[in-house]
């Protein structure tokens, strides 16, 4: 089994924590096209019209979830172009709702976690999270996301944020736009094994200036 692709193995192991069932309506969003990837004959890649109705969360919870995922992985700009999409445009909230329907193990943590966020919002600003300013949202979330800003007593919130971020990352980077934004080579065919383009610099001390 040597050479079974440890990285892929790790990916699948990681993804295995979240699992789901067939005929998910949010598929139209996940499969939205972009450019760069090999075209597939699969019908799933076709864009389907229609809006998504959450299957597990209620509308208020779903709206909160959607906003949180877009805060975690926002669009690159306001162009609306799928190539710079954030989590919402990439279908991440649908993905998470779908996982919630089919994975009882995460239902309670997500429900209580979303409630935790709303309760914290009321406590700090006497307003629902959706009504907060961008700055207020960041102030609420930063202690959950950065260990240096963590405040004792917020363990539950921190645990939920970790879970939410994990599902947001999985949902986003298994979507087409997520893979393309990452520059992931994805599924392509090559005539020869591609290999390193600078083999005469084995230590890689003289690479081009990094992308910013």
């Amino acid at each position: 089994m040597a050479g079974q692709g440890t990285q892929r193995r790790d990916i699948l192991k990681m993804l295995a924590y979240a699992s789901a069932a067939a005929h998910f309506p949010g598929f139209s969003r996940w499969a939205y096209g972009g450019t760069g990837h090999m075209e597939h004959p699969s019908s799933n890649t076709a864009i389907r019209p229609g809006s998504y109705s959450p299957q597990f969360l209620n509308p208020a919870q779903y709206a909160l979830l959607a906003l949180l995922t877009d805060i975690i992985l926002p669009p690159e700009n306001n162009s609306g172009d799928m190539r710079s999409a954030g989590a919402v445009q990439a279908g991440v909230p649908e993905f998470i709702d779908f996982m919630l329907v089919h994975d009882p193990a995460i239902q309670y943590p997500f429900r209580t976690g979303l409630t935790w966020i709303e309760a914290r919002s009321s406590e700090l600003y006497q307003k629902p999270f959706l009504a907060l300013s961008e700055d207020q949202r960041a102030k609420l979330l930063r202690p959950l996301a950065y260990s240096s800003e963590f405040k004792p007593g917020q363990e539950d919130g921190r645990a939920f944020f970790k879970l939410l971020r994990k599902y947001t990352v999985i949902g986003f980077y298994t979507s087409r736009t997520g893979m393309e934004q990452l520059g992931s080579p994805g599924l392509k065919f090559y005539a020869e094994s591609p290999g390193c383009p600078h083999p005469d610099d084995p230590e890689h001390n003289h690479l081009p200036v990094p992308l910013t």
């Binding site: 079974q4 990285q7 892929r8 990916i11 993804l15 298994t174 992931s184 080579p185 290999g195």
Partner: protein, 558 residues
């Protein structure tokens, strides 16, 4: 002797079974092959050319089956392929994972393709360090078989001139990636080899099969046969001979014996009709994989063989060895932060390896005996695997994920367990599978020697990452569950002493002259190398011996 319908029955169609089928059909013998599963259809069963978003579960699989999944290989890309119906049992205190692929071609459909030769450092390990026994075979004897196998299946690598890893006949290697060059420089400074792996994957067209197209998803199957598997490489030509009958859904239950206790056939369960079926032959080859082969033989009890066929030594099922696998270290190479993404996972594989470098000059140089190998991997793959190493959220987080995407590295340890009295399989006295067949029961724990290798490997890999100016992120907390590697060996060891070994040096059982084993069950122990290439070579040798026995009349044709 009873009436036989076939010259040979081959139980199993994986590496050993497939090679036996090929050799025996080519020799003109009438062969009946049994497989407990079905023939896979690459267009339906392999979904390796799909993107995660092309599948309902993004590659993860249905949660209902996910709960009983065997792990990373048993996923949505190959849903419905791994064996879940037939159970096995683990003794108290044993945590054993046993992924089985009961399908035509077995695990060769999805294997890792690492194909190093073993050498005398492996076969004569007992002479070198005083532990256990030598193999009853020298490298000089098996060398020509390795050559024949390599020429047949195609193996890509380089000549490396290392004492522990004899060189073979190789196609051009797969090219190294950026992180490989960086890690290789660091490893070399530490005196650790970092080289192209030997990989049974075609870098150029070979024997009518096309070169790899580097889609990067080999462990979900190959639609063009660019890596070795028996359905692509052995079965078509065997079927062309007209000498092969392949019976699918045929779950071997036990070996049938005649009045003298010699093999006369196999009793199997047809998994479609649930009927028991007898098939008769002059010779029976069991190649069901190490543990399953022992299971079948142990379940073959009769007045002649009260503890299982060919078990007069009492060694059947004993001496189970396995490869300890584990994450021996991971980190980032900051040199690659922000660099363009290159396709680094194009072979879903260990393109490189760090072949055994321990105990080469002196077998007792380290605190452990023998040695281990390591498979490095890394670079940009399909998913930002280390996303959790970065704190925060927002565009800054998203951009940092991208910036680090080309830079992770990861080392997988492959360390052999030593033969131990504690590690064996037997028949569970109570549990039966859905077909009423008594289950095999596994007893296994890691030995101290393998765990010392695990500690040594973690230190070595940390040193390589730090020596490459990398950010070291730690190693796995514990090795993988035993069985995870799919490299079980032992259970029917070969040796010249019939009181101590189940088979002779040709894989023929000492007790039953027309019963042969063609898988890693005959290997006396595992080494730092993978098993498949050696299964192929030893099976080819066993078949040469068997064919000669047919020619000289030791075995009669039907």
């Amino acid at each position: 002797m009873s009436k036989s319908d076939y010259d040979v029955i081959v139980v199993g169609t994986g590496a050993g079974g497939g090679m036996a089928i090929k050799c025996l059909c080519d020799a003109g013998l009438k062969v009946c092959a049994l497989d407990a599963g079905r023939r896979l259809d690459p267009t339906k069963d392999f979904r390796h050319h799909r993107q995660p978003y092309d599948m309902p579960f993004r590659g993860m699989g249905d949660p209902k089956t996910r709960a009983q999944s065997y792990g990373y290989m048993d996923n949505e890309y190959v849903a419905g392929v791994w064996e879940h119906e037939i159970g096995y049992s683990s003794a108290a205190g044993t945590d054993w994972q046993w992924p089985r692929c009961f399908n035509v071609g077995g695990k060769t459909n999805f294997w890792g393709r690492s194909s190093a030769r073993m050498g005398d450092i492996d076969f004569k390990a007992a002479t070198l360090d005083g532990y256990d026994v030598d193999w009853p075979v020298s490298y000089a004897e098996i060398d020509p078989y390795y050559s024949r196998v390599e020429n047949l299946i195609g193996v890509a690598s380089t000549v490396q001139n290392r004492p522990s890893n004899p060189d073979g006949h190789y196609l051009p290697p797969i090219n190294l990636r950026c992180f490989d060059h960086i890690l290789a420089s660091s490893a070399t400074r530490l005196g650790i080899p970092y080289l192209p792996d030997r990989i049974a994957q075609l870098t150029v067209p070979h024997n009518g099969r096309p070169a790899c197209h580097y889609c990067g998803n080999c462990t979900s199957g190959c639609d063009v046969g660019a890596f070795f598997s028996t359905p692509w490489v052995f079965l078509p030509s065997s079927e062309k001979t007209g000498n092969l009958e392949l019976r699918q859904h045929a779950l071997a239950k036990n070996i049938l014996v005649d009045a003298d206790g010699q093999a006369k056939g196999v009793l199997y369960v047809d998994r479609i009709t649930h009927q028991e079926v007898e098939v008769h032959a002059r010779v029976v080859v069991v190649a069901a994989s190490c543990v399953e082969s022992a299971h079948i033989l142990l379940n073959s009890t009769s007045p002649h063989w009260p503890t299982g066929i060919a078990n007069s030594s009492g060694q059947l099922g004993r001496n189970l060895c396995d490869h300890l696998y584990g994450n021996a270290g991971k980190g980032y190479l900051p040199q690659l932060f922000g660099q363009p993404i290159y396709p680094d996972s194009v072979s879903s594989s260990t393109i490189v390896w760090m072949p055994r470098w321990q105990n080469l000059d002196n077998p007792h140089q380290e605190r452990f005996i023998r040695g281990y190998s390591v498979y490095p991997e890394g670079g940009s793959v399909d998913f930002p695997v280390e996303y959790d190493q970065i704190e925060g959220f927002g565009l800054e987080y998203k951009h940092e994920i991208k910036r680090r995407h080309p830079a992770p590295v990861h080392f997988t340890l492959q360390a052999p367990s030593l033969r131990s009295e504690k590690n064996y399989v037997d028949i569970d006295p109570e549990k039966r599978d859905v077909y009423g067949i008594p289950m095999v029961r596994v007893h296994f724990e890691w030995d101290e020697n393998a765990l010392l290798m695990w500690e040594h490997a973690k230190q070595s890999c940390e040193a390589i990452i730090r020596g490459a100016k990398g950010e070291y992120l730690g190693a796995g907390d514990a090795p993988e569950t035993p069985g995870y590697s799919l490299h079980e060996t032992g259970t029917a060891r070969m040796g010249n002493d019939r009181d101590k070994f189940v088979t002779n040096r040709f894989g023929q059982t000492h007790d039953v002259h027309n019963l042969y084993l063609c898988d890693a069950s005959v290997f006396p122990y595992c080494t730092d190398k993978t098993t498949t290439l050696s299964i192929l070579a030893f099976t080819m040798r066993t078949c040469d011996y068997m064919i000669e026995n047919f020619r000289t009349g030791v075995h009669q044709r039907v």
